[in-house]
């Protein structure tokens, strides 16, 4: 009899919790992920793996050291950055290991709390400037600064500032370029006002591979004559940019 009443009470509590749950989270239990509205910038360059937390060992060593204890993820949550998430079933080899999920929503704040507290040494203590999470690349065909607007949001958001950004002045405005000192935290990715962002962070190994091609594109853009540039900007780039619009509140979770 006691057990029955207990079950009843437990059931009622569970039901009320369910109701509370629906009020609390606007998306409820929907398992479907929100569809991305725009294709990511630099669609021809892959990210090349998982962007690990700052101070991570090389991929293979990191995997053998990480025990999936969840300190880094929870401390990232406690520091209010929410940048780190855990790998799911899709990548079974890396199941449960931390990675920066989507910098367009939650970039790494470089608070350097996770490497300080990793118990197995999978994340090693490093200085802010020497982190190698990845390399941010600007998509010149989408960037406001490279297409006649005055923006520079990325350089204002960057925690390392002038250390990382080079500026190229021309009659097209002040054009930002991210050099190799970039640590890949992704704050520029979040604060790019373009819908879907014009900046992308890729793994260092992939960057070494795509660097010649990317630099060639960059040099071509610098050496263009005024008329050529005008055609490229007004016929190709601006329609793309205007179709994306300015979006600050993103949801790519």
């Amino acid at each position: 009899m006691i057990r029955r009443t207990f079950l009843k009470i437990a059931g009622l509590m569970g039901l009320s919790l369910l109701g509370f749950y629906h009020i609390e989270s606007p998306r409820g239990f929907s398992l479907a992920r929100k569809k991305e509205e725009f294709e990511p910038p630099l669609a021809n360059i892959p990210i090349g793996g998982l962007i690990r937390p700052p101070g991570a060992l090389p991929e293979r060593e990191f995997r053998s050291k990480c025990i999936s204890c969840g300190i880094c993820v929870n401390i990232c949550h406690a520091m209010k950055y929410n940048a780190l998430a855990v790998v799911g079933f899709a990548d079974f080899r890396n199941l449960g290991t931390p990675y920066v999920k989507d910098m367009r929503d939650f970039p790494c704040g470089l608070c350097m709390e996770c490497p300080k507290h990793c118990p197995t040494g999978a994340l090693q203590k490093v200085e802010k400037e020497k982190v190698t999470m990845g390399q941010a690349l600007i998509d010149f065909s989408l960037c406001f600064g490279w297409n006649g607007d005055v923006c520079l949001s990325c350089s204002k958001a960057c925690p390392l500032g002038a250390f990382v950004f080079d500026f190229y002045n021309s009659e097209w405005g002040n054009q930002p370029y991210i050099n190799e000192k970039c640590v890949g935290c992704g704050l520029c990715v979040k604060y790019c006002p373009l819908g879907g962002s014009a900046v992308k962070v890729i793994k260092r190994e992939i960057y070494q591979r795509v660097k010649p091609k990317y630099d060639q594109e960059f040099q071509r853009l610098l050496n263009m004559t005024m008329e050529e540039r005008y055609l490229v900007v007004y016929n190709e780039n601006l329609p793309k940019i205007l179709s994306r619009g300015r979006i600050q509140e993103r949801e790519y979770r």
Partner: protein
């Protein structure tokens, strides 16, 4: 006191549950951004100062990476100190699975009760070696990442809390962890305490500390009534009555649940906890 009688908890069991709930509440504080105890039971951070690392996870990560880091040693030393004092008390007092397994045990569903307790617990060391071998070959701490009940429990907890507050959650991982926990409960329903006694490598490593720990069970200088009530309440299957001539119990299976102390207390009052050499 009436509520206590309704739930029918014994004194030590109540104390154990209070400790368990306290530890879990400390872990829940991390979701309110209060950094008292962060992480999970396989690796955690106490007041953002002391790192704690499960010894089996330490060994597994060491073998998987074949490289020693001083950080992990600093993290494992406090835990080793705790187990040097309390032995395998973790399993009975802090491990959340003990509570769930007790609920399942109370339903008395198992058709293989006898068989489960006949499997000698020493076969568990084969399981330990098996997991270490897999870790060595694959270069992944396999048990702690995929199978550990502690990792899966805290993953589930984190995912559920994040889901409630609408933070990014990976549903596939949540389902994996949840189904693994359910599988463990199902296993418990068939073979009571097979996981705790034989299969769980974490408990096996802690069991080694029972041989040298300060906390142990001691028999007083009295006559044993041979009533075997202590062995009846011991759910880890320790042969207590056999050890009366030795004067103390240093069994690797003992998780200091205190059931035998209480069962004996009403009769011969022979068994006592002792903290010391």
């Amino acid at each position: 006191m009436k509520s206590l009688q309704v739930v029918n908890l014994k004194r030590y069991t109540l104390l154990r549950r209070i400790v368990l709930v306290l530890v879990l509440v400390l872990f829940l504080f991390q979701f309110l951004r209060i950094k008292l105890l962060i992480g999970g039971l396989s690796g955690s951070l106490l007041i953002s100062w002391i790192k704690l690392l499960d010894p089996f996870a330490f060994v597994e990560a060491l073998i998987a990476s074949k490289k020693f880091t001083i950080d992990s040693l600093w993290a494992v030393i406090p835990v080793l100190l705790i187990y040097f004092i309390f032995g395998r008390a973790f399993c009975g007092w802090v491990c959340p699975m003990d509570l769930f397994f007790n609920w399942i045990n109370r339903l008395k569903t198992s058709p293989y009760l006898e068989i489960s307790y006949k499997i000698p617990s020493h076969t568990g060391y084969i399981v330990v070696l098996f997991f270490l071998l897999i870790s060595f070959i694959s270069g992944i701490p396999v048990f702690t990442n995929y199978i550990s009940h502690l990792t899966n429990f805290f993953r589930t907890l984190t995912a559920l809390v994040f889901l409630t507050f609408n933070f990014p959650v990976d549903f596939s991982l949540l389902l994996y962890s949840l189904f693994f926990l359910l599988f463990l409960l199902f296993l418990e329903g068939l073979f009571p305490r097979l996981w705790c006694r034989v299969l769980c490598p974490v408990g096996k490593i802690y069991g080694l500390f029972n041989k040298i720990s300060l906390l142990h069970l001691k028999f007083q200088d009295k006559d044993c009534l041979q009533c075997a009530s202590c062995e009846r309440v011991c759910y880890m299957g320790v042969k207590i009555a056999e050890r009366v001539p030795q004067g103390h119990i240093r069994s690797q299976e003992c998780i200091f649940c205190g059931n035998c102390v209480e069962a004996c207390g009403g009769k011969a009052n022979l068994i006592k906890f002792k903290l010391g050499v």
